[in-house]
């Protein structure tokens, strides 16, 4: 297990280094420091203001090789944008936002709470409801409920996420007037009122794919011999489904869910943006719109780290859920 973990971490580190290189190349291919400066300072400023801004933010350095230093001087390679990029990311010194000079670490801390207050309930309720509905549909397999549920699942999967958001806000916020259309509050009880609608929209939009996947897994399990044995022993249907089928279907379900857990920290981009939740998803969307390179690279980097962490967690959870799996 330890050797496996070390090997996986090694692969993970190489992937991270690759991601950082790709990130650097992509950013400086599609944009340049002048563009970042223009966005930050405004289009009306004079060239010397842009130059000063670039100097203040370290963007006045060359990309790869600083020819201001002699070939033997290591600063020729360390006083460059590429080296600084790696140094900052690997030491978790994310620096300040290009857009407003605020500390990125502080904004991550501030945004984490609102993001988690949306993504954790979304994850928990979505999972529980998805599994229960899938069990229900699998229980009534090959009946009109099953067929109707599959049609509804396909329909919900075919609709774009943005449409759920806009129509959810219109239907529930505007027409039915049950919840505020958007907004947020840091007080838990007040926050619940604002989070109800994005939660509902998020759960409904993701439910189709989840129910369909889990139903397939459950139906496969239901047809296995051990289920027939359980019934022959006199187990009730509820016990068969919850104690036997659900437990044995956990591995593929875990594959689906464990990998998503780390992403709870990076927030939900569209939901947060449309529902006015000041979380990390909103921060990312804003960084994209505002050419805020330093914030965006931090979010992409954290996303990559979390993805790798999710994969390792998935592998570990396999072993925990199924003793037959050995990580060798």
């Amino acid at each position: 297990m330890a050797a496996y973990l070390i090997r996986r971490l090694g692969y993970g580190l190489m992937t991270v280094l690759g991601v950082l290189l790709l990130l650097f190349v992509l950013f400086f291919t599609v944009t340049d420091p002048d563009d970042i400066a223009r966005k930050a300072v405004g289009e009306r400023a004079r060239p010397e203001v842009y130059a000063q801004w670039k100097k203040n933010h370290g963007y006045d350095r060359p990309l790869l090789v600083n020819r201001a230093y002699a070939a033997s001087d290591r600063r020729r390679y360390t006083d460059t944008l590429l080296f600084d990029h790696y140094r900052r990311m690997l030491s978790f010194d994310f620096g300040n936002s290009d857009a407003d000079d605020s500390s990125i670490s502080r904004r991550l801390k501030e945004g984490m709470g609102p993001s988690l207050s949306l993504t954790v309930p979304l994850f928990v309720f979505g999972l529980v409801l998805g599994v229960l509905l899938a069990l229900f549909v699998a229980f009534f397999r090959e009946t009109y409920i099953d067929r109707a549920a599959l049609v509804v699942c396909m329909l919900t999967m075919s609709i774009a996420g943005l449409l759920y958001i806009i129509s959810g806000q219109y239907l529930i916020g505007m027409l039915l007037k049950w919840f505020p259309i958007s907004g947020f509050a840091f007080e838990p009880w007040l926050a619940a009122r604002f989070l109800a609608l994005p939660l509902l929209v998020g759960i409904v939009s993701g439910m189709g794919a989840d129910v369909r996947l889990y139903r397939t897994i459950f139906v496969e399990e239901i047809n296995r011999d051990y289920v027939r044995t359980a019934r022959a022993k006199g187990c009730g249907e509820a016990r068969v489904m919850l104690a036997h089928v659900l437990r044995n279907a956990l591995i593929p379900i875990l594959t689906n869910i464990v990998i998503t857990i780390p992403f709870l920290f990076t927030g939900a981009l569209l939901l947060e943006s449309f529902f006015g939740i000041p979380g990390l998803g909103s921060l990312t969307v804003e960084a994209i719109h505002g050419n805020d390179f330093s914030t965006l690279r931090t979010m992409v980097y954290l996303g990559a780290l979390l993805f790798i962490a999710g994969q390792i967690l998935t592998d570990i959870s396999y072993a925990l859920a199924d003793p037959r799996v050995r990580l060798s």
């Binding site: 300072v41 806000q169 449309f274 006015g276």
Partner: protein, 673 residues
């Protein structure tokens, strides 16, 4: 079975109860009857440092927290400067060497809002009186390269401004420890700006090396507000203290009570504001007395407010709304007091150029304001085909191309007619704008344009050099599909003349690079004025500002000696008949030369609810909240009427769910038995 049914019943009951208590009201009910204005912002302020803040989002806060020596009259058009923290608008005092002085007499009794930063100078005191040195300190900050003010270049005519920056830089380079001293100490060591002189506590003299009357407009912007050195020194971002860029300390009618730019910003009335206590009738502290009858008739202004002391609102709450649609929907529900129209709902809100009957029935108001802006297509006058070198031939080509662009049709097609077709660079509301003026080359006339093409030697658009349609390139700084569609509109218009115009869409930076290289023929561009003076538009066509000569903002590279002479004379004159005559002559030159095809002046449509009073927008990027008021009782009543929750769909959904599920459950159990 009965237990399960019971549990289900309880759950359904809980859901029903939860929903029964639900409401879409996003605000605490305790605030319902307070004079609070609820509004939204989409883009977070980058900074609240008045020396740097240059965006509308920042101005929402800095424009209310920081007062200025001068300000614009709320209602008068053309825009007029009035005294604010100054006792009067200063007159220029010419010097023998060509320089000019402006002496600002500062009102007595102006104090900064309470703040812990004043412990640095006042001991236990939490505020102090504003003195002339506070204005001088802020002007020094504008010059300071470390502050990096975008307006530093505009203050170059202030005597010794750039020399001060150079001395300051040299001082910091000579001794690294200097940079750690408080900014006011550093500035004192650098010797201050020669042309910024504080005569005692209440007189500030600004000496310019040359006449530049437009500089007065900058004293109506927060860039020149008094800033206490204590605030800059105290809010340094260390030991848990905020940065000055996030913690404004001003003298304005409001103070920043809460600032989370990702979520919500709250301004509270500043009870120490000079306007609430001044014994005399300071112009910036009371509602204007002269109100246009048209504004009263249209309910833009309530005449009953004339002469009353400002401000009226207790609090202004800005809620972050990143997306247009939820913002507009919340405005329709009455949860935002003011709003803007989203294009998806334009036809539902505006019909026949005014509010739709549905919206009017809700008591809503629509205010249209033409921004001091101009959007135009420019010709590169250095180009041998379309520019000055082509002589009369090029001039006629430009005139013909100008004659086929129908700005009105463009506005209707792409901008819901939100704009005024431009006849000249000058927008409405500025001195020199003539509403009856019709540019003969901006009235669409295909036949006349074709005749001009023939006179230019391009009959039916054919270039006699090669017998093919004349090929031109049109460079644009926008690559979006929507923008390309809009550019196609122009190309289709020119195609009527037989011209083959190719769109070269590029990113902003690529476009800038092309401009620097001079590699363009036609381009599209826009300008929003910093201040409402014709000089702020005509300088875009002055020769010394030509891109090819100085890298300046005259991207058309238009150089016409007569125009330049008129410009030089016009720019330093007061708004009088002579100046108006010079402007007319300049416009006549532009009319014939056609370095630009003037397209339109942007028009802003602002919506407000029946309970909002004095919502007339300024047009310039100046917040007018100190003039606004709300009627909270009417708001509460209408919000309640508009937002009664509909609960029957929930009951229906529950019944349907049971009705669909129950037969399946019964069938299943029957089969198993």
């Amino acid at each position: 079975m009965s237990g399960a049914v019971g549990r289900r019943g309880i759950m359904i009951g809980l859901v029903v109860l939860a929903l029964a208590g639900c409401s879409n009201d996003p605000y605490p009910s305790a605030d319902g009857n307070k004079k609070i204005l609820y509004t939204s912002f989409s883009e977070a302020p980058k900074t609240l440092d008045p020396a740097v803040a240059y965006t509308t989002a920042s101005h929402l806060i800095t424009g209310n927290v920081y007062d200025t020596l001068l300000e614009y009259h709320f209602l008068k058009r053309p825009y007029q400067l009035i005294a604010a923290l100054a006792e009067r608008v200063p007159a220029p005092e010419p010097h023998a060497d060509g320089g000019v002085s402006y002496r600002f007499q500062i009102r007595d009794g102006i104090a900064f809002q309470d703040d812990p930063c004043f412990a640095l100078s006042q001991g236990a005191g939490r505020s102090r009186k504003v003195v002339a040195a506070d204005f001088a300190f802020e002007l020094a900050r504008l010059a300071d390269p470390a502050v990096n003010s975008p307006l530093a270049g505009s203050f170059a005519p202030v005597l010794g401004f750039s020399q001060f920056a150079e001395r300051l830089t040299a001082l910091r380079q000579a001794d690294a420890a200097v940079a750690n001293l408080p900014a006011n100490v550093q500035y004192a060591r650098a010797g201050g700006i020669a042309g910024v002189i504080a005569h005692g506590e209440r007189e500030l003299e600004i000496v310019l090396s040359e006449a530049k009357p437009q500089l007065l407009y900058f004293f109506a912007m927060p860039f020149t507000t008094p800033v206490p050195w204590e605030a800059v020194a105290y809010y340094d971002g260390r030991d848990g203290r905020e940065h000055f860029a996030d913690h404004p300390v001003g003298t304005g009618p409001y103070r920043l009570a809460s600032y989370d730019k990702q979520y919500r910003m709250v301004l509270e009335r500043n009870d120490a504001w000079y306007g609430r206590h001044a014994l005399d009738a300071a112009p910036g502290s009371q509602f204007p007395g002269e109100i246009d009858a048209e504004d009263i008739a249209s309910r833009a202004i309530d005449a009953g407010y004339a002469g009353r002391r400002l401000p009226f609102l207790e609090r202004i709450v800005f809620v972050r709304e990143r997306e247009d649609i939820p913002r507009f929907n919340k405005f329709l529900q009455g949860y935002y007091d003011e709003g803007h129209i989203v294009k998806e709902s334009f036809d539902a809100v505006v019909q026949n150029d005014s509010l739709s009957p549905q919206m009017a029935a809700r008591g809503m108001r629509l205010d249209k304001t033409v921004e001091p802006s101009i959007f135009y297509i420019g010709f590169n006058m250095d180009d041998p085909v379309v520019g000055a070198a082509a002589g009369e031939r090029g001039r006629k080509l430009r005139q013909a191309m100008s004659l086929v662009i129908d700005s009105k049709a463009y506005l209707e097609l792409f901008l819901n007619a939100r704009g005024v077709p431009a006849q000249s660079p000058l927008p409405p509301g500025l001195f020199g704008y003539d509403r009856d003026y019709r540019n003969p080359y901006r009235q669409p006339d295909l036949a006349r344009a074709q005749k001009l093409m023939a006179e230019a030697g391009y009959r039916n658009g054919i270039d006699p050099a090669n017998g093919a349609p004349l090929k031109l390139s049109f460079d644009t700084p926008n690559t979006t599909a929507q923008a390309l569609l809009q550019y196609q509109f122009y190309v289709a218009a020119w195609r009527q003349l037989g011209l083959d115009v190719e769109i070269n869409a590029s990113t902003y930076n690529q476009f800038q690079a092309k401009v620097r290289r001079g590699a363009y023929q036609l381009f599209t561009w826009g300008w929003i004025a910093d201040f409402p003076d014709p000089e702020n538009f005509f300088f875009l066509l002055e020769c010394s500002n030509a891109q090819s000569k100085s890298g300046g903002p005259n991207t058309a590279n238009f150089c016409q000696p007569q125009f330049d002479r008129l410009y030089q004379e016009m720019k330093s004159l007061p708004n009088d008949a002579h100046r108006a005559d010079l402007i007319r002559r300049m416009l006549a030159l532009l009319e014939a030369e056609r370095p630009w095809i003037e397209l339109f002046h942007n028009e802003e449509y602002a919506l407000s609810h029946a309970w909002v009073v004095n919502a007339k927008p300024m047009g310039l990027s100046y917040p007018t909240y100190k003039y606004m008021d709300v009627k909270p009782e009417l708001r509460a009543q209408l919000q309640a009427e508009w937002n009664v929750p509909l609960r029957w769909p929930l009951y229906l959904a529950l019944i349907l769910m049971v009705a669909v599920t129950l037969p399946a459950v019964r069938t299943f159990y029957r089969e198993r038995q």
